[in-house]
């Protein structure tokens, strides 16, 4: 009893938050799962339980394989977005890590897109990624024309096969600076002694990075991957702003919105649950791992 008097008040102070999250996170997820196994396909409401029918429908019977198409789009987007932002972020951090004159300026400029919403940046990216080529080229295609790199001109996101790779470009622009900031903090966290010790042992610059510095950055890289990964799964604003909702660029998050516009709640819920599962298979092991490693510290 005395022990409870010791820690009890903490639990009480935390209580309201726990109740809110229990309702608004876990409760509403349960509710969404319930809708996803019902036949609530119109605004009139549900007549009953249909098991996993909505899920099998999405994967096997959806018109034109719409859901699978949106997953394929999400996959292309995610690969390009994560690879692009990780590489650029790491490169920038590498270029800046040992201190260059004007570092503050470079850091500020590289990072500023992060402060802007996708809705605002989408306005200009829609224009920069104008599909016109040759004489009528605008935006980035005009830049390529001007640099005599005409072969780089492309239809951007309007390309039916690889359009989603172009859609990832604004996302890379927006978040590479963030990855840079994370890596820069990682670089700076490596003690000078460690570098000096490696230099004393006669390690070349290449070996210093390969064997001493990069291994130390693994936790940072993992955090960055997790953050970018879950952002990518949820990507909605950028696509709504650049292309608007349409077949070519549809991802599950946009499909949910489209299904809701037709009051197909069951379908929207089923897509949301698939999306949640996709995020959970990555996040849950990560959170469990984080908690374990913290305990052993």
């Amino acid at each position: 009893m005395r022990r409870f008097r010791h820690w009890g008040p903490g639990l009480i102070l935390l209580g309201p938050s726990l109740i809110l999250l229990a309702i608004f996170v876990y409760g509403l997820i349960a509710w969404t799962i319930k809708v996803s196994v019902s036949d609530e396909h119109t605004a009139l409401g549900s007549k009953g339980f249909v098991g996993l029918d909505n899920y099998t429908y999405l994967f096997t019977e959806d018109i034109n394989d719409r859901f699978l198409h949106s997953l394929k789009n999400l996959l292309i987007f995610t690969v390009v977005f994560i690879a692009g932002a990780m590489l650029l972020g790491l490169l920038w951090a590498y270029l800046l890590e040992r201190g260059v004159r004007g570092e503050g300026l470079f850091r500020t400029v590289y990072l500023f897109p992060m402060a802007v919403s996708f809705i605002a940046s989408g306005v200009v990216w829609r224009w920069l990624m104008n599909p016109n080529q040759g004489e009528n080229a605008g935006g980035l295609n005009a830049v390529f024309g001007g640099l005599h790199l005409d072969f780089l001109q492309n239809p951007w996101w309007t390309d039916p096969d690889w359009g989603m790779a172009a859609m990832a470009v604004p996302a890379v622009w927006q978040l590479s600076g963030y990855v840079m900031a994370l890596f820069l903090a990682g670089f700076r966290g490596i003690s000078a002694e460690l570098r000096e010790a490696a230099a004393m042992d006669g390690a070349s610059t290449y070996r210093l990075y390969r064997n001493v510095i990069f291994p130390q950055l693994t936790p940072v890289a993992l955090s960055a991957l997790i953050i970018l990964g879950h952002m990518s799964m949820k990507m909605f604003d950028l696509i709504m702003s650049v292309s608007g909702p349409q077949w070519l660029t549809e991802v599950p998050a946009v499909y949910v919105w489209q299904a809701l516009l037709t009051s197909d709640y069951a379908k929207a819920a089923a897509i949301s649950v698939v999306l949640l599962l996709l995020v959970a298979v990555v996040i849950v092991p990560y959170l469990v791992w984080t908690q374990r490693t913290e305990k052993t510290r």
């Binding site: 820690w7 008040p9 903490g10 102070l13 935390l14 938050s17 999250l21 309702i23 608004f24 996170v25 997820i29 809708v35 920038w92 260059v100 470079f106 500020t108 400029v109 990072l111 500023f112 897109p113 992060m114 402060a115 802007v116 919403s117 809705i119 605002a120 940046s121 306005v123 200009v124 016109n132 080229a137 605008g138 935006g139 005009a142 830049v143 622009w173 900031a181 997790i226 953050i227 879950h230 949820k234 909605f236 604003d237 709504m240 702003s241 998050a253 809701l260 949301s272 999306l275 949640l276 995020v279 996040i283 990560y286 959170l287 469990v288 984080t290 908690q291 490693t293 913290e294 305990k295």
Partner: protein, 269 residues
């Protein structure tokens, strides 16, 4: 890499990153007749602020509403986060780590997975539509990140002995928190306030699900202005700049802490 190539690469990327900003600014000052796909990169032949006026007229009501959204969200979530973070780092109870992990999960969920019932539940609770509903949503779903930020902050800056000493002196939880902890929580507050202000200001997903152009925030209004069938490009770009000004200002003025906030987004500190 030697100095010259390093600077060349850095400068090239600087230009690439700034390109969209250049297009935004020059286009926003162009007259309608001056705008065309092939002349995108040119400076305006005559500079005019007509599009800025048009965009401001269209966005003004929602611009003011978004302050009514982002400021309360920033303040309320920070206070909740400070209390939670304190308990989970310095006034722990059995199972605190598991509870913390359960809280953190809420930070990563795709909000689509709660959005459908969320609309119903706020209606049932009688929360007025528009800004009040959005304040509630951002505060609730902001609990995980704010808790995380303060937990890490207290765990690294507040010595355990300080809290123990207060306990020995007979100070209860609330007294310790308000008298000893809150006064040294400034840096944590700066980070959560920036983070929550920015995410509430820039949010579109909650906004489109829970509000409309008449009662919603600026992202909704901007998308309506820029997303029409034949959008006015100059006004759209001016609108995008107006929309971004508050968060850019926060970023420029409080850049150092802004980065601190971004760092806090990674679970491990």
């Amino acid at each position: 890499m030697t100095r010259i190539p390093r600077y060349t690469v850095l400068l090239l990327f600087l230009i690439v990153v700034l390109m969209p900003a250049y297009v935004l600014v020059v286009t926003s000052f162009k007259a309608g007749s001056d705008i065309g796909v092939t002349s995108q990169w040119n400076l305006p032949s005559t500079w005019t602020t007509a599009s800025w006026e048009k965009a401001w007229t269209a966005l003004r009501p929602s611009f003011l509403r978004t302050f009514q959204l982002a400021i309360p969200v920033a303040v309320i979530s920070s206070l909740i986060g400070a209390a939670n973070g304190f308990v989970l780092s310095r006034w722990r109870f059995p199972g605190a780590d598991v509870v913390f992990t359960l809280i953190l999960f809420g930070m990563f969920i795709p909000y689509q997975a709660v959005m459908i019932p969320l609309r119903d539940i706020v209606l049932t609770l009688g929360v007025p539509p528009g800004i009040p509903t959005l304040v509630l949503a951002h505060c609730v779903y902001g609990i995980p990140i704010c808790t995380l930020i303060f937990r890490n902050y207290y765990a690294t800056t507040v010595p355990e002995d300080l809290v123990e000493a207060a306990r020995v002196d007979g100070a209860g939880l609330l007294r310790t928190f308000t008298r000893i902890i809150l006064p040294i929580s400034g840096p944590g507050f700066v980070v959560t306030v920036i983070w929550q202000f920015t995410s509430a200001w820039n949010d579109y997903l909650f906004a489109i699900f829970l509000s409309n152009t008449r009662n919603g925030p600026i992202t909704i209004a901007l998308n309506a202005l820029a997303g029409a069938q034949s959008p006015d490009y100059a006004a759209s770009m001016a609108g995008a700049l107006i929309t971004s000004l508050p968060t850019l200002l926060v970023y420029v003025l409080l850049g150092r802490w802004f980065i601190g906030g971004l760092m806090a987004g990674s679970v491990k500190s």
